[in-house]
Amino acid sequence: MHNFTRRHFLKAFGITSAAALTGIGCAPHAARNGAKAHVVVVGGGSGGATAARYLKQFSPDMMVTLVEPNATYVTCYGSNWVIGGFESMDSITHGYHNLRDRDGIDVIEDKVVGVDADNRTVRLESGDSLQYDKLVMSPGIDFKYDDMPGIEEADAEKIPHAWKAGEQTEMLRSQLLEMPNGGVFVMVAPPNPFRCPPGPYERVSLIAHYLKEHKPRSKIIVLDAKDNFSKQGLFEEGWEMHYGDMIEWRAASDGGLVEEIDVGEMTARADAGFERVRADVMNFIPAQRAGQIAHDVGLTNDEGWVPVDQRTFKSEMDDNIYVLGDASVAGAMPKSGHSANNQGKIVAAAIVRELMDQEPIDPSSANTCYSLITPEHGISVAAVYKYQDGAQAGVEGAGGVSPSGETSSFREREAAFTRAWYAGITQDIWG
């Protein structure tokens, strides 16, 4: 453990001096009293902002600093509603003024470029550094463009991923607006595990909603790296009900697995080279891994994700670093905004208890993932998680997906609850 932290200290800072190696006498003592401790939170998304707010709520005198490079955060959840044309970017964009002005969190607009775990400091792009007693990292995802021949990260300017919301969301929306009636929209859907398991399928639902109204001769093709997907039965039921045969989903083993993308020709080569699918608008959602900073600090495993103690979300690599959200390996909990929100609370409780010399508790939390098939047709998957036998596990007999074959009024109520969920959780996260 000690050698490991030494190594990633060196990796993150590129320092090789003897002084750094011996780390002479400059490490701070951990505050024994939670009230005096300083916690630095890296990343102001669903996990990080929640952790910061709940640390202050559980321990009002604690010093909490949130480091986030952007002035606002655009949620990936809800971004399909913008792409579908019935919500605005403003409605999914959140600022940090409540955290800063009302919750007493020191919000710094800067980017973390290195972590010195031995000396418990983070280095910022501006050149400043911050000392911490506990570090919470919620770095989200980055993409594995190397896994797909023919396309690289810079090509996202032509073929958007739109899987980190913001400019990419607007780009995909404007490409759909420019697409001719009778055009073909192609989504290349990612392999597991990835952020927001039902997200790609909500997206094609709501693109179909837009096209049906404005460009009804158009076609949607999903080329999937998987043979099944979240809430599949409910999505397919809804697609048939609302969009007839507009959406064609191809499973990996049925010609859906894409081997190469030709960016210039706007084609995806699939089915062992037998099929070249041409797109007017293409949405390539790459395979994913933990956000880059988690790799730079040396917290990731061979698969590119961050292993943690699933009781506290403390990194397996360092005793003072907690990692949550999409980047973490969290047992049965999906990579969802709601999971990140729950994990932010779990981490806040774990840190406060540890600083008070109290034993960790076995957390339990609830997750709900709503999706819209039309603006009035909502479906959901729910689960209750409990920490048991060393992992976050779903409680047997609880949770599951919305019933199939339900009435339109049931679907309308779930669509209304989808919006209530969004309003509630974003207030919980950003105040």
Partner: protein
Amino acid sequence: MKQSRLFVAGLVASLAMVGTTSQAIADNDEITRGQLMAASCKACHNAAGAEKGVPDLGRISPEVIQSQMRAFRDGDRDATIMDRHAKGYTDEEIEAMSVYFARF
């Protein structure tokens, strides 16, 4: 009659807790498992959710929360999703979380 007595009992319990609010979440108090479970529910069941039709549990008494969670769980009350959530909790867990909502 039964319903309204339950409501009054809950209201009294809620009012009684107001005086202890700041202490309950002060840093020298212990964060409990029930409190963390209640925090999870608050993602939907808060003031913003209430504006769009989801009850704000901070305004509902522990007794009513307990009876309604059991009703959802045991199939005595219809729901779109709360039946699926409620099945994940024991009576003891429902009781443990129910007392915290008014304190957040």
